[in-house]
Amino acid sequence: MKGALVLLVAVLTAITSWASAASPALKRLTVAESTEVRPSHAWALESDDVFHLSGTGVCEPLVKVDFDGRLVPNLAQSWQRTDKTTWQFKLRSGVVFQNGQPFNAQAVITALNHIRSVPTLPRGFTSSTITSLSAAGDTAVIIHTGAPDTLLPNRLSSVNTCILAPSAYKAGAEPSPFGTGTGPFILKEASQDSLRLVKNKNYWGGLVNLDEVAWLLVPDGVVRAGMVRTGEADIADNIPISQVPILEKDTRVVVVKQLAPRTVGLYLNISRRPFTDVRVRKAIQYAIDKKAIVATILEGIGQPAVGPFTPVEKAWLNSGLKGYPYDPQRAKALLAEAGYKPGDVKFALLTYPSRAELPPIAEAIQKMLKDVGIVADLQVKPLVDDDALAGKFETLLLSRGHLLDVYDPEGFLTADYSCKGSYNLSHYCNPSVDGLLAQSRDANAPQTRYNLYRQIQSIIVDEDAVTVFVNHSVTLVAHSKKVLNYRPHPSHHYTVTAALDITR
């Protein structure tokens, strides 16, 4: 009898331990992600929808900006510029699409042809950026550019150019990202407020730690912050500054702060009086106490800015800029010198509410300007770039990311500060800047380019005082202590990676 009981217990133990070994608890991680608009069931790769695909590790581009800000091979193993307008990209071997289709030159050409043919091209691309694509065998792609372009590899690190399997692209419809990427995670389901992803067991980049990821779309930053505190989410992206003191008091939560390539600036419409006078522009610069703004409104999270680029961007930052330290007396003197009495200078100060810190910063600036005799009429409304671009504004407080298109400031400098720039809100035109930019496009060595950018910064900030750069923003991410191997990406492209893990 006793023997039978022992046998029974032994058998049951064996069965249960076999069963639990056969199905260990799944490692599941939940991310609360910010979203202005929910991505549609149809995915426009040229729009900001794609950040949800790259952030979740579904879709990968040929080239990658790594977590230290360097350009590294991704789906392309190497690249070479064979002549002024031709590049050859060698593709990595061992990559396979999640639906089993082979990753080869033809697949890459199909994907890139799609992104070239959409009605509104992604940032960093014009209709002549790439003029033709051809295959050199199965493992290499030849790309012809319209004009000599040293930055083609940078442009192909843009997540808008990420590569999906050929069957994802159907004529007349948006591409389907379900099971058609190359990345560590496979998109299984998408609903109006969440995405569900599972591990890609055949990922070329190696072992993927997590089994499942839930990517929740939560537009409200305060709510996202709350979700990490309650455990509803393991990672909360883009936390508002107002929530940081609460999160930092919580011992189960880690707040990650990273200086972002994003600067808040007061853009002046230089084509209009009184901004045509550089003394007025410099007066405005001296009137603003950037340290106080960062210390109080931003609660110390951020850095006062001198020029557009942050201390993290050491490669091309001009750290020798003089800038404009807070000096209201000097501001008043400059205005007087330009012939304006207190109250003479009046203009509208525009800003928009979708970035929470902008309205209070604008209010503070309004008051600081009032203290030196400038009357600014504040208007807060949703941003309409078109009005701004058409010149229908006087000043605009804007949060501007300068590495959004390619991980190189050329796109930003050209768009914002060249005479014919597509985002030249200031209506600024200085031929020296245009000349330096043209030189930089011709330069082959990055160092040469970066030195030219430094000269441009000097002109824009110290000589012409085009834009009042107020502060550099900080990317704020909160995650529970259970999350392992999280690293914030400099361009915020990749959140969920193969290395990301969670303790049970």
């Binding site: 991505p39 729009s47 509104t120 109006q192 407020d193 709510v223 949703p382 078109d386 597509s422």
Partner: protein
């Protein structure tokens, strides 16, 4: 009765066309250029490339004269083709349907709660008019009408989500997410329904049939609950129907605060993004729905009233 029905219903299509006209021209009156709106919606910082603008214009048929566009829009509406959102490029009809399903759940739960709470309160108030319970309910109903729903929403979130952590602060992912929004929205209907029930019950108590029942020996309380309430329910039910119509679009602030993907939030986001097809189709759809519900409720009220009027109320 049939004549009344026909007259009311005949007007409906005319009214709907009138509403469509207003809605169609509103953005144009406001000086919104659809092409720029699309461009702005698709790529936040875009190239003001004239070639791109022309392509978009052609793609959407925006280069045709205005009256033609209105008529073709109307024709497509009638067929059920509500166009495509500028922002997400999904069919508008689908977006509206999804939103409506969510809002209908929210509003349905809210009105059910309101009826369950308010009707008994109204009856109790009617049983002893003028006494402290009646006065309490009266004051409660004034308070309910005057309370700002956005303030209540914030206070509930502050207490139950942020301080206590019992409920999630926003979203729509399960029953726990429904508690606070339903409570917030229920304040005003409870206040109005309780007051209306009280008035209707008092009215019903003045009827011959009520006295007849009392004369038959039933207790006052029982007669009220059984008899008067039955008659009083008719105006209350029509009131509920009217509130349903109003709340389908009127829940927008609550949906915004709690992040509920209902039709109010869909339209709010559409307005912020100047997503014209969605705004226009959505408004026409909601207003039409409200008009139809209102009309049917009114007709039902009139139709059912004669049953009450059979016994004259005492002077």
């Amino acid at each position: 009765m049939a004549a009344l029905l026909i007259r009311r219903l005949a007007f409906l299509p005319v009214l709907l066309v009138f509403v469509s006209l207003l809605v169609f021209f509103l953005p144009r009156l406001a000086g919104v250029d659809p092409t720029l709106a699309i461009l702005h919606a698709r790529v936040p910082e875009r190239n003001p490339d004239p070639e791109v603008l022309d392509r978009i214009r052609a793609e959407l048929g925006l280069d045709r004269p205005v009256p033609l566009r209105f008529l073709s829009w109307l024709e497509r509406l009638a067929r059920g083709d509500l166009g495509y959102s500028y922002v997400t490029r999904e069919p508008v009809a689908g977006l509206l349907r999804e939103g409506l399903a969510v809002t209908a759940t929210l509003v349905g739960l809210c009105l059910a709660l309101a009826v369950v709470v308010a009707v008994p309160l109204g009856v109790v108030a009617a049983i002893r008019p003028g006494k402290w319970l009646d006065n309490l309910i009266a004051i409660g109903s004034q308070v309910g009408v005057a309370v700002p729903e956005y303030w209540i929403a914030l206070l509930l979130i502050l207490l139950f989500a942020q301080r206590l952590g019992w409920l999630p602060s926003a979203g729509w992912r399960g029953p726990a997410y429904m508690v606070m929004p339903v409570l917030t929205l229920a304040f005003r209907p409870i206040a109005y329904f309780a007051w209306a029930t009280r008035a209707a019950v008092i009215e019903a108590m003045r009827m011959d049939s009520f006295r007849a029942a009392r004369a038959r020996g039933l207790t006052r309380t029982r007669t009220i609950w059984v008899h008067a309430l039955r008659n009083a329910l008719i105006p209350v039910v029509t009131l509920v129907a009217l509130w349903l119509a109003g709340m389908l679009g009127g829940s927008v602030i609550v949906e915004v605060i709690f992040g509920i993907p209902g039709i109010g939030l869909v339209l709010y986001n559409a307005v912020l993004a100047t997503d014209l097809p969605l705004i226009q189709a959505g408004l026409v759809f909601l207003i039409s729905l409200a008009v139809v519900i209102n009309t049917l409720a009114d007709l039902a009220y009139v139709a059912l009233n004669p049953a009450i009027r059979l016994s004259r109320p005492q002077p």
